[in-house]
Amino acid sequence: MAGLPRFSASLTSAAVAPVEGFTPPTPRIAAIRAKLLSTPYSICLERPKLMEEFWSSREGRRSAKLEHPLVHRALTLQYIFSHRKPRIYDDEIIIGNMTSKRIAANYYIEGGSINILEDFARLGKRTIPLKLTIQETAGVLHLGLKNAFKSVGAKALLKPGRLSYFLDFFRAKRHFVTEEAGIGHQVGNYWMVVHEGLRGPYGEAKQRLEEGRLADGSRLDADQRAFFSSVLITIDGIRKMAENLAAEAEHLAQMKGESEQRRAELLAAAAACRRVPFEPARTYLEGLQATWLIHMALNLEDFEQGLSFGRMDQILLPLYRSDVELGRLNTGQATEMTACFCLKTCETMPLYSQRVDQFFSGNGVAQAFTLGGTDEKGNDLTNELSGLILDAYAQVLTREPAVHVRIHPATPEWFFQKSVELLQMGTSRPSFFGDTAVVRALQEAGMTREHARDYAVIGCVEMASQGRTYNSSDAALFNLPLCLELALNEGRRFHGKARIEGRRRFGAPTPPVSTMKTFDDVLDAFRAQVRHGVDDMVKVIGWLEEVYRTIRPTPVNSILTEGCLETGKDVTWGGGLYDYTSIQAAGLADAGDSLYALKRIIFDQKRFSLDEFVGILQDNFRGREDLRVELASKLPRYGNGDPDVDHMTQLAADAFSDALSAHKNSRGGRYVPGFYSMTCHIGFGRVTGALPNGRPAGRRLSNGLAPVDGCDRMGPTAVLRSAASLDSRKWMNCHALNLKFDRQIVQGKTGRKALVSLLKNYFALGGMQVQVNILDTETLKAAKRDPASYPGIVVRVAGYCAYFNDLQPAVQDEIIERTAHGIT
């Protein structure tokens, strides 16, 4: 579309006018995108190789022996940062390679990645193939085996008395502790990075070391001294990484045959990397480049999940406006730069074996932008850059990055419209967050109102006050309905795979059902099982977090988190201003519906004795299909605006929230709950027995905050009403509510208007989060049959977007089958 600029360059956000339609990608964006979409996935072994190289060097051996673990870790990271090979790809104007391949997963020997060895013999033949040379495949095997005992999980759990917890990683049932793989998940202080540069924390750390005291005057102890040293060492490493990139760009600019324009672009990128992230950024381009370099460092430091950019429409706004005012940037250029930045996020992916993939299908890592929202006083901050970033994403429409928008009563109409218009393009972006509910939950979790209002989304749906929070979110996922199964069977599963396992009690020894006389007895047993499961999980997480502090501290993360430089502590040591560990529960609606069914059938209608009914469940409704179908189709369900069932869902949620909030994490922070499940509801479902709501054994559980599939009988308005009616104050880690619409229903102006109204109404009712998938089932079926012809279809799986083709067949089926709202 001609007629740029589309946004007023004026300095008041009020002057921004809504504009219909998005511009098509520029040739540059189209070219980079096409390249990325046709690049096979791989595994990058550069990081582990450099690590080993350092550890076996004289310096590495010395530091391992003599230095504080924080310093040793920082030296290791510095070595990686400064020795990795810079790679700059065609057409890029934001530079900095995530790995040594165009698209690859990093192999993190400290944890997590080792699960890929389960697929060792068939890397190229997996549902999602990984392309490696024979030497590389051998390298993976070698690395994996050699370092198997160096991972956080192994160090924490391969100990007497903990072995069975280690094995739990391979037989996840009640919970899946993801923290074994890494903590990641952060929205760092990018305001500082962009506007002050690392010079700030560098100077601060130096001063602390010189004075031997904290800013408050207290003397540094050995740990604190090591921390401040780790800051200096790490920043030096990041500078070197930036300089290497600059040198490479300069080198490429010298190459014969480069066009004048390309030469200028490369030199501009080089100049930016010579300056940022150490010095403050002066231009929009430098702001993006600084952010990207820090993002790379975070990826190389811990692991890739959930590393997010925060409120970029606020952070970059001053630079954008001054560039525009000085006439050195127009909206078209800024959009293209931002789109280039977005495409950089496509270079990374997680490393999951097929087994693990059923829990986290989709290859998403959720590098998130948060747009819109308010200042600390509650005034709207939505501005022209909020719209421009939507424009930029509309040019790429890729799985990464994630785009989240904050909605509050004063969200401008144009921004709402534009967000929904982007949604209509079918990538399920953006997802929507209700400021009122989110801020309330964050305050409830101990944040000041001002800090809560400066929240940004981590990854899919998790929460941080940006640059002030160590959330270690997604530390584990919890199977809520299984606790009901255990409650009905004295802490045993109905049917284990093996007889022995079936008899093994792995829940709490709650009373036999024959002694349960009232519904409250059942509820008590359920709560006891939830507590028991949570206790167990928290124990494991505590062990992991201990190990983290010594072998995997995260100085980059600490530099970006307020509180660490003030206290002289790494985030893994509890340095963050706000510290949480957050856990997600899967299967909430199944749990709620099942409680309701028990109460109604057994205790109100007295159709069976509890004993008898549990016998039927243990037999997985064998011979009682009529009863199963009746329970599934005739009883009221959560998601239809029925206060009685919705109340049971609340009880199930409270059981989890209460059990969790009784614990403190190993850093003294709080445990906080969230309700979403990635694709864990599928993996957990496989190991969960029959449920009182008529769900047969093995079937996937309900997803996040959504109703059980197909049980939203009254349409999307009732789903949103039910969801909004739940008390979300304790849900610091938010939830994922997936709504699916057939494309036909919500296309065009009519659909847009309807969606805007629907969402507005939901947030007016107190809704916290919602994400919308716009799909047509025909397309998806075709894509499943013939993946090659449909490379770019993005769907939202739980909290994040994924390429449809990357999903496991079972997940694909779910997407296809699930109610497409509006079809009668």
Partner: protein, 350 residues
């Protein structure tokens, strides 16, 4: 003979194509016409009907065992001469395969089910649409229901086949803001053969409504044509209707493409299969649109109509002298216009 208290066979929410904004639809049972392309054949008979949905049936045999009249010789085949409508089979069927179309509901009951949607009607400029079947078969009930809704500030529209007794409809029409008026076959004889009734009265009613529509307190009228290849898309038919609409001063029309979504319903009800019909292609829809526009009639897709200003927006509440909480709600719902006059001066007490 139609019972004075109608049966409602469905309430549907989040509908975007039956009037402005987000709407809930109230489906009335009973229809005077029998159009072969009908997608809601369960609406035809005014009385309640027992249906069987084979796809849901798990073959448990409960219905057969429990029928006191032994009217079910086997699953899914009901001897209608024996059945006395006790609904035991429906209550005892675990899967919902045996199901009932049409239950009696009071206006209050319907209003309560719709109430949670009210705020959404307000934000989206939507409301409630009466449809069916034929809401006009129950002028008293429809008027009462419409009145209770309007008291709450809810915008009400009605879809009709136009086959009604206008005299009995006045109280209902006063409550409506918009009538979506279905026109089908222009030729009188063909209409009679195809849809089972003469269309003279339909044309007369359309004319009368349009003429009344320009006055105060009467709903706007918006015609719609179901586009069924081979049946309603012929040149003559289109020209006939276009000329008629023009003579009434109407220059717009919604084309509703035929869709076979309700095809299985005939089986559920044990009706013989309908004629083989086909979804119109995009080209056919465009051709029809072209023919209309050549005659000066603009055509629209369902849900995309630019309804006239005075037919949209929240309903005007009842005049002040009426009792109840109506007054407060009315103010709340009316919301936006603050100049003291509605967009069209419609807030003068009717």
């Amino acid at each position: 003979m139609v019972s004075p208290e109608p049966l409602v066979f469905s309430l549907q929410h989040f509908c975007l194509h039956d009037g402005p904004g987000i709407r809930s639809l109230v489906f009335f049972k009973g229809c005077p016409l029998r159009c072969p392309w009908c997608q809601n054949v369960e609406s035809w008979k005014a009385g309640s009907e027992i249906a069987f949905k084979p796809a849901l049936c798990i073959n448990c045999g409960t219905c057969v065992r429990k029928c006191p009249e032994h009217a079910l010789a086997e699953v899914g085949t009901r001897d209608t001469t024996r059945c006395r409508g006790c609904f035991t089979c429906i209550d005892s069927c675990p899967s919902g395969a045996m199901t009932l179309f049409g239950v009696q509901r009071s206006p209050e009951d319907v209003v309560e089910e719709l109430r949670p949607e009210f705020s959404l009607f307000t934000t989206s400029g939507g409301g409630v649409t009466f449809t069916g079947g034929e809401p006009t078969l129950y002028p008293d009930f429809s008027a009462r229901l419409a009145r209770s809704l309007r008291t709450e500030g809810i915008h009400i529209a009605m879809e009709t086949c136009g086959f009604f007794d206008l005299k009995r409809l006045r109280p209902l029409l006063r409550e409506l803001r918009l009538v979506l008026f279905d026109i089908k076959i222009y030729d009188r004889e063909q209409h009679r053969q195809m849809c089972g009734a003469d269309n003279t009265v339909i044309k007369k009613n359309l004319k009368a409504l349009v003429e009344a529509g320009s006055g105060q307190g009467a709903p706007a009228v918006w015609p719609r044509l179901p586009l069924v290849p081979g049946l309603t898309d012929g040149q003559d038919n289109i020209k006939g209707w276009a000329g008629f609409l023009r003579s009434l001063g109407i220059s717009f029309l919604t084309i509703v493409p035929y869709h076979p979504m309700g095809a299985s319903k005939r089986r559920w009800l044990g009706l013989p299969a309908g004629p083989e019909l086909r979804v119109p292609t995009d080209a056919e829809i465009q051709t029809a649109g072209g023919l209309f526009s050549a005659e000066g009639i603009m055509t629209y897709k369902p849900g995309e109509e630019p309804f006239p200003e005075d037919s949209i927006g929240p309903a005007q509440g009842l005049p002040r002298d009426l009792p109840g909480a109506a007054h407060d709600r009315r103010v709340e719902h009316r919301g936006l216009p603050t100049d003291g006059h509605g967009p069209t001066g419609l807030n003068t007490p009717r």
